[in-house]
């Protein structure tokens, strides 16, 4: 990992106009509410958070698959959030996505060889012979049988399909791979194969990953640094081991405390902190700290004053008036 910053997001906001559940009339839902972060070349930045907290929306904004409502995204030194589609095109190939459901993201009527060749053809990678050779090389790289190039997606298992999705993402030598829940649909033994493969590919091609998942174990395993999201905001960011061992935000602490553990050693279990209630509707954001209605340590200040994401120590930020483990 270097210190070179591959992507820098500043105050990214994304709002959707929706019908609020509560009021039944059109309403603005802020899915991403002012996120700032940096991704360094060669690292894996993990993003965790519960369903609906804005992980996918953030990822899509960062690679400009979704236009941002406001804020700035700089990729390889270029401000990309205001570029036209055409100006964006040469940069797009350097930012690739791997999705959760490999099946939904692969065209069922194309052979898997064609699926992987498609980005190469669109980007005029070379002659058909060169493209075919590249496809075979990609198949070998991700551990798929080159004799299966002419088969269709439904003939493959979930794990194999995810390998096909990864091969396609790698076709154009991207610098950033955004993986949105890439292993959530897989069984644990197959999940482990895909995670190991992603680690090998990162070493081999010096890839940078933005890795999104709701599984806290998976995120710790893959990430160098981790950001925790709640209701469209990053509430805590830091080195993966630090953040897991000494969480500062009460939400991170609660989240980690309730992950079911195998409990196969004599080490004492973290004391469970069971949060009350549900995550609020992003169209009906609480005042002050977004987490205050569920926070076990909230005070009046939390209801009124929104805590900013503050760097407590180099590389360690938290958005809470009363951070733990901060001393």
């Amino acid at each position: 990992m270097s210190n070179e910053i591959l992507l820098k997001a500043t105050d990214v906001v994304k709002t959707f106009s929706t019908r609020s559940k509560k009021f039944g009339r059109p309403h603005l839902a802020t899915a991403v509410n002012g996120v700032s972060l940096e991704i360094r070349r060669g690292e894996t930045l993990g993003i965790v958070g519960e369903s609906g907290c804005g992980k996918s929306t953030l990822a899509r904004c960062l690679v400009q698959l979704l236009p941002t409502t406001s804020g700035s995204v700089v990729f390889e030194g270029v401000e990309i959030s205001k570029l036209s589609r055409r100006a964006l095109r040469p940069l797009r190939r350097k930012m690739q996505l791997v999705f959760q459901d490999p099946y939904a993201s692969l065209n069922p009527r194309r052979t898997v060889g064609d699926i992987v060749a498609e980005p190469l053809r669109i980007n005029k990678f070379g002659t058909e012979v060169v493209i075919q050779e590249r496809v075979r090389e990609l198949f070998r790289t991700v551990g798929l049988d080159v004799n299966s190039l002419t088969r269709y997606p439904h003939e493959f298992s979930g794990g194999q399909r995810q390998r096909i999705g990864i091969a396609r993402a790698l076709a154009l030598n991207p610098s950033l791979v955004v993986a949105d829940e890439p292993v959530s649909a897989l069984d644990v033994s197959v999940q482990a194969q895909v995670l190991n493969l992603m680690a090998d590919l990162q070493d081999k091609f010096n890839l940078t990953y933005l890795f999104i998942a709701h599984d806290l174990g998976v995120v710790r395993h893959v990430s160098d640094r981790v950001g925790v999201m709640y209701l469209g905001e990053i509430v805590e960011l830091g080195d993966a081991d630090e953040l897991y061992d000494r969480p500062m935000h009460p939400y991170t602490e609660a989240l980690l405390s309730v992950v079911p553990e195998l409990n196969d050693t004599d080490a004492p279990r973290r004391e469970r902190i069971i949060l009350k209630g549900d995550v609020p509707d992003p169209a009906d954001r609480p005042s002050g700290c977004s987490f205050h209605p569920r926070c076990p340590v909230a005070t009046d200040k939390c209801k009124e004053v929104k805590p900013a994401l503050v760097e407590i120590r180099p590389g360690r930020s938290v958005a809470c008036h009363y951070p733990k483990n901060a001393g």
């Binding site: 519960e50 369903s51 298992s157 794990g159 194999q160 069984d187 644990v188 033994s189 197959v190 999940q191 482990a192 194969q193 995670l195 190991n196 680690a199 709701h214 599984d215 806290l216 174990g217 998976v218 710790r220 395993h221 993966a240 081991d241 897991y244 609660a254 989240l255 980690l256 309730v258 992950v259 079911p260 553990e261 195998l262 409990n263 196969d264 080490a267 469970r272 069971i274 949060l275 549900d278 995550v279």
Partner: protein, 332 residues
């Protein structure tokens, strides 16, 4: 002397006749559930967890299915009972919770109506009594303001709240046994914690036994007293939770436990099980795991039976000495 089991499943087999030949979804499952015991059934996708539960309850409605074996509930054989005979049992003495709460709820009726119906079917309560009991149940499962919420429709609840409603329904008739098929898989981890916590508390106050089906070893470790590890429709290992998690005996269980990324610590590489789950159309005659097992021997082409000591059984041909050698090597 242990009390007689609430549920006793012996050599359950469920086969679907398909165009590609017989599909053996469940192939010789046996286990017992003692009073107040929580038994966890764990296995990967397609290993036959749901089919085994549905077939026990007479819920596999498929003309091409053949079910054999025996399922005794409180000493009475329930496999093969007619729908009419099963009716007082399902939803009455046996409560059910599914992965998708909407399987158990009807969108066009209020949740109160649905709980009241359930109570009226299985008890002699009057409408007014049933409504009071429904409010009490909603409050027990932690639905705020139950007197108002009882008249709401399922879509007006969040996913976690809906699962609470289903739990209220499942408990409505004081079941002896609660069967929960992936009750928290669709939920977030903080909501999962609320629901699991609720299940444990209620199990305690209702004295029911629970069979919980999940693919999450962590959930098993936190909830279950005993575990059945399934592979390809067969039990690979059965035993007390602590023994199976801390001292697993079957190579499949070794792989399954080693593949779980932990939150407590980080290691560079995860253990993997090579290959993919075996197709239920194509289960080998011998050990079902043999194709993926690195310790396969000649004898593994013969089917290993579940055996062992101290209530900790597994179906594998490895000798105790071989296992000790393998595990000592793996941990060094």
């Amino acid at each position: 002397m242990p009390e007689s089991p609430v549920l006793k499943v012996s050599d359950l087999k469920v086969t679907f006749a398909t165009r590609q030949g017989p599909l053996r979804a469940v192939d010789g499952l046996s286990f017992e559930v003692a009073p107040k015991e929580v038994v966890g059934i764990v296995g990967e996708s397609g290993s036959g967890k749901s089919v085994s539960m549905y077939s026990m309850l007479g819920l596999v409605r498929d003309a091409n299915v053949t079910i054999t074996g025996s399922v005794e509930f409180q000493g009475r054989e329930i496999l093969g009972l007619s729908d009419k005979e099963m009716q007082p049992i399902r939803g009455g003495e046996i409560g059910m919770i599914f992965q998708d709460p909407m399987t158990a709820l009807t969108p066009v009726y209020t949740v109160g109506w649905q709980i009241v119906e359930q109570l009226r079917t299985h008890t002699t309560m009057t409408k007014a009594q049933a409504r009071e009991r429904a409010i009490e149940l909603l409050s027990e499962v932690g639905i705020p303001d139950p007197r108002k919420r009882i008249d709401h429709y399922p879509h007006e609840f969040s996913g976690g709240m809906r699962q609470r409603v289903v739990i209220a329904m499942a408990l409505s008739c004081n079941p002896k046994l609660l069967i929960a098929d992936e009750p928290t898989t669709a939920l977030d981890v903080t909501t999962q914690a609320q629901i699991l916590d609720l299940m444990v508390k209620l199990q305690d106050s209702y004295n029911s036994s629970i069979v919980i089906i999940t693919h999450d070893m962590g959930v098993i470790a936190e909830m279950a007293h005993r575990v059945v590890v399934m592979y390809a429709g067969r039990p690979a290992e059965v035993g007390p939770e602590i023994d199976v998690v801390r001292n697993p005996r079957h190579p499949y269980t070794w792989g399954l436990l080693g593949a779980v990324p932990r939150i407590e610590s980080r290691n560079d590489r995860l253990a993997t099980i090579p290959g993919n789950a075996v197709s239920p159309l194509d289960i080998p005659e011998g050990c079902a795991f043999a194709d993926r097992c690195e310790y396969r021997m000649d004898i593994c082409t013969k089917r290993p039976q579940l055996k062992g000591a101290n209530d900790h059984l597994d179906a594998c041909w490895l000798s105790d000495e071989q296992r000790v050698a393998i595990r000592t090597k793996a941990s060094s």
